[in-house]
């Protein structure tokens, strides 16, 4: 019972969506449409579940006064500050009928001064890591590594004047070796071939995994038959 009903739900939903692809007629068109909408709504409940769990973990840390509990307090305060500002529409011009992230609202203020800079800065760390990774990894140790290195090197040169001046003097029949031309060729020929093969492989992997899920062969996500 605890596993058979979920397996049945997965089967029915999965099959209905696949069939809807080929049979546009009622009821599959309606199911296809509504399942998408339902999924969107359930996704929001997942946010709530996530928030609930986050609080559970950090409140427990604060109660136990475990290591770094003061930082957990920062998480909890940040969480309630943003949630309160957003759900209660604090500072929104026009009150309840206003836009929750209108200019002047506390929610937008917190977004601009904390969320946005934190996100963008975390992301920008990549510029540093890309450099350190290429320094370490792009060494001609094996034939595979050399191919990786050469392709990356040519593409890296592409937006720089160096790439242009290194090869612009090449005579017409050898112009295909000019860095901008060569990099376009690498992107649209070998890169494309590799990406395409990966895509085909992945598509097959996804098709077969989906099939296993629908047929109930792959079910480790459902856990055990026991309670909880």
């Amino acid at each position: 019972m605890k596993r058979s009903i979920p397996l049945l739900i997965t089967f029915l939903v999965g099959v209905a969506l696949i069939v809807a692809m080929f049979i546009p007629h009622w009821p599959f068109d309606v199911l296809n449409q509504n399942f998408s909408v339902f999924y969107d709504i359930i996704a929001v409940f997942a946010f709530i579940l996530g928030g609930g769990n986050l609080l559970k973990v950090h409140i427990r840390k604060v109660q136990r006064k475990g290591g770094d509990w003061k930082y957990s307090l920062v998480t909890i305060i940040g969480f309630f500050l943003v949630l309160g500002a957003g759900l209660l529409k604090i500072g929104v011009p026009g009150g309840w009928s206003g836009d929750y992230q209108a200019t002047g609202s506390l929610f937008k203020y917190l977004y601009d001064s904390a969320f946005q800079p934190l996100q963008a800065t975390m992301f920008s760390l990549l510029a540093f890591f890309v450099a350190s990774a290429s320094y370490r990894a792009f060494r001609a140790k094996t034939r595979e590594a050399t191919i990786l290195l050469v392709a990356a090197f040519i593409i890296l040169l592409r937006p720089t004047p160096l790439g242009y001046y290194l090869t612009f003097w090449l005579p017409e029949p050898l112009q295909f070796l000019h860095v901008p031309n060569l990099s376009t060729w690498i992107l649209s020929v070998p890169n494309m071939a590799g990406q395409r093969a990966i895509m085909i492989g992945i598509a097959l992997g996804i098709v077969s995994t989906s099939l296993r899920l629908i047929l109930g062969i792959e079910r480790s996500y459902l856990g055990s038959e026991g309670k909880g």
Partner: protein, 414 residues
């Protein structure tokens, strides 16, 4: 507040709509919008659109009629006399026409999605311009209906059926106990080594199932591998840490790990804290995982699932703490970073093969063989298609060209 704006905007909308459909014509025609020939043309009247035809839109659920026409001879581009076309609909042939939509010049078709199945409609189309519209040309009667099968996707059905058959066939073969070979997948050979090293060093194992939700099949694949890794950590009594960025992944992750610990005979070592939610936000999650890495210094890091930009942040931080790193993803954009920064990388489809490889489950291995059959089909058709197309281009043979085109069309989706 809302009501007020609603009332204010409606009349404005009507005026704007009329303007869009060439205001003077509407005024000349009086209050009604019945399309009629205008009796006093200012200049030479606009030539009407030709060949108006209406038919039930094919391969759909119904409620839709397609109307097509040829451009008015006066429709000569953006600066021509025709500014657009107006489409009318009625349920009787000679009266009761109502404006349905206005379209820009150059358009030659539109779809009426407001049709009711089974009702007969008549359509009229006229060209519009700032001074006077053309005569309206009619078509109909036509009824809309839903179709039971999308013929345009017949080829997809065939291809899907071949794949499903191949996969299911080999799954059954596997279930019957037939021995199936799987080639070595180097990243996976390292799983035992990595868990073993963590045990020796007394440090935890970190598992990241990607940052996507359970609606991504890669996450599901990651979870299946987690089940295998969790069995090993349970057996070796090594600490396992699985921070996740989706609450549903947390739920499934807990089920998975709990089941694995149970199967390994160590349910006592399981705790819900092993799998914990951080935040749905990609970089908030990365910030926290980076923190976990530099503070707990795991000896082995597994990144198996769907990854985005965070891949390199995680892998470089993992590298800086000297962990053995095994990654696997089917996100082609992130594979280069894992290949560059990790010790072992499962490339694309290998991620999906991993669960079969690790579990040695015969049904899973069978489905893997089914995938291979799919690849064989793909290669076969690619080579056949290329050969036929090349021969056709080289010889100019019509039959070959036709055959090549047929092959290509079989793999066309529209």
């Amino acid at each position: 507040m809302l009501r007020k704006t609603g009332m204010r905007s409606t009349p404005t909308a009507i005026v704007l709509l009329l303007a869009a459909c060439s205001l003077p014509a509407a005024v000349a025609a009086g209050a009604g919008v019945e399309p009629q020939a205008v009796s006093q043309p200012a200049r030479q009247p606009l030539a009407p659109p030709g060949g108006v035809r209406a038919y039930d839109t094919g391969n759909d659920a119904g409620g839709s009629i397609t109307i097509e026409w040829d451009r008015s001879p006066d429709d000569t581009g953006p600066r021509g006399r025709v500014t657009g076309y107006e489409v009318f609909r009625s349920e009787s042939q000679n009266s009761g026409f109502e404006s349905l939509m206005c379209l820009p010049s150059g358009t030659t078709a539109c779809i009426d999605n407001s049709a009711v199945d089974g009702v007969e409609y008549y359509y009229r189309v006229r060209a519009t311009s700032p001074d006077a519209p053309s005569v309206a040309v009619g078509a109909g009667p036509v009824k809309s209906s839903g179709q039971w099968f999308n013929r345009a996707r017949l080829n997809l059905v065939v291809i899907a059926a071949i794949l499903v058959f191949a996969i299911v066939y080999y799954i059954i073969q596997g279930a019957k106990g037939k021995d199936l070979y799987i080639r070595k997948i180097s990243g996976l050979e390292a799983v035992d080594e990595a868990v073993g090293r963590a045990t020796e060093m007394g440090r935890p194992v970190l598992f990241i199932p990607g940052i996507q939700d359970m609606d991504n099949v890669q996450t599901v694949a990651g979870m299946t591998i987690l089940a295998n890794i969790a069995k090993r950590t349970a057996t070796y009594e090594t600490a396992l840490d699985v921070p996740v960025s989706r609450s549903i992944v947390m739920s499934t992750g807990r089920e998975t790990v709990k089941q694995a610990y149970l199967e390994a005979g160590r349910p006592d070592l399981y705790s819900d804290d092993i799998v914990h939610y951080i935040t749905d936000e990609q970089f908030g999650y990365v910030a926290a995982v980076d923190g976990i890495m530099v503070r707990q210094k795991p000896a082995a890091c597994f990144y198996l699932g769907a990854f985005f930009a965070e891949s390199l942040i995680l892998a470089e931080t993992g590298n800086s703490i000297g962990a053995i790193q095994v990654a696997g993803t089917a996100m082609p954009t992130q594979l280069p970073f894992f290949v560059a920064a990790c010790d072992y990388t499962l490339i694309g489809e290998e991620l999906f093969a991993a669960s079969a490889y690790l579990s040695k489950d015969r049904m899973m291995m069978g489905s893997l063989k089914g995938q291979d059959a799919g690849k064989a089909v793909a290669m076969l058709f690619i080579l056949a298609g290329v050969a036929v197309a090349t021969l056709a281009a080289a010889t100019g043979n019509e039959t070959l060209a036709g055959l090549g085109e047929w092959l290509r069309q079989f793999f066309a989706i529209n």
